[in-house]
Amino acid sequence: MRIKFPIVLIGMLILFSASIALGEVSRVPWLVVCGLSFIGIFIFDTENAITKNIANSTLFLTVFGLVLKSILEPSVEYFWRDVAGAVFLIALGFEQNSESWDGHILLRSMLTPAVLFFILVMGQSLPALPAEATLICSLAGIFLLALLELFSMLRKQGDVQTTAFMSATRSATSSIVSLFYCATFLPNLIHEAPFINIQLLVPVMGVCLAMLGFFLRKSRERYILFCSGWSLFILWTALSFEQNRIFAGIGGAVAGAWSTVIVSRAPIRGNDLRYIFLKISGWGIPGSILFTFILLGLLPSTNMNLRIGSVIWLLGFFIYWSGLVGNADSDRSTPEQSWGWRQSIALALTIASTALLSEPGMLARAMSVWWGGGK
């Protein structure tokens, strides 16, 4: 384990450096966001699941490489092809890290959405398809990626969460893909009816997920819904076409991936307040890094769709938070974890991030300088 950690880290740094060196200047900020997300997942992997076996390490590195490669692609077709590869490997990772399960394959296998995603990607290349159909295929692919984990919830014994790093990898990939696609390849058709109504459809889907969580007993199941909802929230910020909101989405993508991996299955040790705060900060409660990006993402707007969407999102987050009351169940089969340096960094980060709220425009200004003409 001790040897694997630096090896995987070096591998990630090599991939990251190579992509920066080979990439166009305009893609560098996206590469940095991707690097931050994945390196953060690796560092905050408190369960040490990534380095548990060589299969997980290889899989994680390959997904990271594929997402980086997708950002470097010059055309949308190759971008989707790389993403399809990453999605397939993520689905395979979920399967190999899950508990043994039984039942109908087509509905409960995580590979079903991955194969559907690939068919959608390939379907886009049919020349006979009109532009509207191609856009629908792309958007359906993004939705599938955001809702990928829901398929595992159909399993009988509620084997819903494999390891936190897989959820975080899915979350990071979904967020980066939706943000990058919307900023780089999204056709102008999206601004026309009926596609523009997606700005309302996405928050409604988010609220539906939150309400679905009300009927679920296990907090892990509800957390999967929250992660899927968070991916939709990032997609919504990307589809807002407002710079400040997109920047909030970019920050939220990184923070979301980190928070997902830090909320492990391990039970809370005693009444350690640090643990409790860290665990519930993954739900975006006030005072957490996610809450900061929720507020930045729900900034006032002149666009009526976005204003309505903001209200719907707020409602969705309140539903999630209200479900937290009196629910502190964890997977008791997982051994308790001791407080370590990773948790300390995570706690420091999530508390320090609230400072961003003192000057909401600061993040947007900093990012617009950094992005420059690259967006």
Binding site: N53, I54, A55, T58, T62, G65, L66, K69, E77, R81, D82, A84, G85, A86, F88, L89, L92, E95, Q96, S98, S100, W101, D102, I105, L106, R108, S109, L111, T112, V115, F118, I119, V121, M122, G123, S125, L126, P127, A128
Partner: protein
């Protein structure tokens, strides 16, 4: 280049056959190991020699009806690489190292080389018959002793069918073209006074022969039942070998003869009254639908795998059937990549030590027993299915970009293949692991070797441009760039 140089790889393989025979006759107790070393060495040497021969873009004709161009070169390298893969993994087999199997597999490689390099249809038929006898003999040698007479008899019957069809084809070629040389036939076909019925008969026979040799369903291949009896490496190797030879028939005996480059040389146009591309497309569409379906419905995992590994070759055939320069180049590279896919499959199966007969039921829970080997088996079949991030996906994408409603069949193939892979993966990690197989712990080197192969395949899929250039360079003679 002196055209005798074309024979160097063949001479090396033939020399290997003689040395192995001599070791069997005069060798000491350790002769089986020596035979294995000689076998591996000559295959490596022949591969290097074949690679070194690829220094001219133009077509070189050799005496005895041999031809060396980009296509025959790519197919030859694929065959030799496949021979190495099979040979390396036969080392650990329980029925391994029988001298007959050694000699016959080397002989099969030699005949396969002749069949893809032959410029005469009649010689090609003879080489295929030789290949069939050699490979059936090797399969029989590795199988149960009591089944050997039945397997050899089956080989004789099948080769007789090939000989009859091939003989009829040669006679028809003589009657229509007064020649069985492929390049001459290609020149003659532009003449207007050729017999239409004769041409149609030749096309039908070559299509039938190609599908039969390749093993595209509903044909079950020329090897039939014998593959189930033998070791995994030889069964997978023999199936792939015949798939490559079958593809050569479609390419050289069907498409090359009955087409010519269109204006601009970006695509081929059909010559003659029958559109040969449509015929090939129909054959490949049947394969696109039936290959994953038959693989899904087969209860025996080995038979299922042996059907499914034809998938990348059917993808390549479908791409060839459009006669477009770009897809042609991608499809040529796909053949080469498929050999690496088979290498990964063979090595993963050997690591798992799966017995010759193995069912889906026994596969259940295999991923919990041996994660790495199971993942490698799954990934090799994912690559065969043409899913991303493997090279097959770029061929699928390029083929789908062609404006044709036949593309829907390719999407159907993707859906069925995806379901096949999904089923394989889900079962591997489901409950109910049986104790039918004992799984040994992989050594660190074996893990690295397997994962290295997987990394290579993914690398080929992500950085596909160089492979495409190789494929595009290989098909230049088809488009008149000589």
């Amino acid at each position: 280049m002196n055209f005798y140089e074309l024979f160097i790889p063949h001479a090396t393989l033939l020399l290997g056959v003689f040395i192995i025979s001599a070791l069997e006759i005069w060798g000491e107790e350790d002769r089986l190991s020596h035979q294995w070393i000689v076998h591996t060495f000559v295959l490596l040497l022949a591969t290097i020699q074949q690679v070194l021969l690829y220094r001219v873009p133009s077509t070189v004709f050799g005496r005895g009806g041999l031809v060396l161009d980009g296509v025959s070169q790519t197919l030859s390298i694929s065959i030799l690489l496949l021979g190495i893969v099979v040979q390396l993994w036969r080392r650990g087999e329980y029925t391994q190292l029988t001298p007959q199997a050694n000699l016959l597999t080397l002989g099969a490689t030699l005949f396969a080389l002749f069949s893809v390099q032959s410029n005469r249809i009649f010689f090609g038929i003879l080489a295929i018959i030789g290949l069939l006898w050699a490979i059936q003999g090797a399969l029989a040698a590795e199988g149960h002793r009591k089944n050997q007479p039945a397997l050899v008899h089956s080989a004789l019957v099948r080769s007789l069918i090939i000989f009859l069809v091939g003989g009829l084809l040669s006679l028809l070629c003589f009657s229509v073209f007064t020649e069985t040389r492929i390049d001459e036939m290609q020149r003659v076909i532009a003449r207007p006074n050729l017999s239409v019925s004769g041409l149609m008969s030749i096309q039908i026979l070559t299509l039938f022969l190609g599908a039969l040799v390749m093993g595209i369903p509903p044909f079950q291949g020329l090897l039939g039942y014998s593959r189930r009896q033998t070791s995994w490496p030889l069964a997978v190797g023999a199936t792939t070998l015949l798939a490559i030879v079958g593809l050569n028939i479609f390419l050289r005996w069907v498409i090359l003869i009955f087409s010519r480059p269109n204006i601009g040389a970006l695509e081929l146009e059909a010559l003659g009254t029958i559109n040969v591309f449509l015929d090939v497309r129909i054959v490949s569409v049947v394969g696109l639908v039936l290959v994953p379906l038959l693989a899904l419905f087969n209860n025996d995992l080995k038979s299922s795998f042996l059907v499914f590994i034809l998938n990348p070759f059917v993808h390549a055939l479908f791409a060839f059937s459009f006669g477009q320069r770009e897809t042609f180049g991608f499809a040529m590279s796909q053949i080469l990549v498929s050999v690496f896919v088979m290498g990964l499959l063979i090595s993963a199966i050997e690591s798992l030590q799966l017995p010759p007969q193995f069912s889906w039921k026994e596969w259940r829970g295999m991923g919990r027993k041996d994660l790495i080997s199971s993942l490698l088996v799954i990934m090799s079949l994912v690559a065969a299915a043409g899913l991303s991030p493997f090279y097959g996906s770029i061929l699928l994408y390029k083929t789908l970009c062609i404006n044709s409603w036949f593309g829907l069949f390719l999407l159907l193939n993707v859906a069925l293949s995806g379901y096949y892979v999904m089923r394989l993966t889900a079962l591997a990690f489901q409950k109910g692991a049986t104790s039918a197989t004992r799984v040994r712990e992989l050594t660190k080197n074996q893990r690295l070797w397997g994962l290295g192969q997987l990394a290579l395949l993914i690398f080929m899929g992500i950085f596909w441009e160089s492979l495409y250039k190789y494929g595009a360079f290989s098909i230049r003679n088809f488009f008149g760039d000589i």
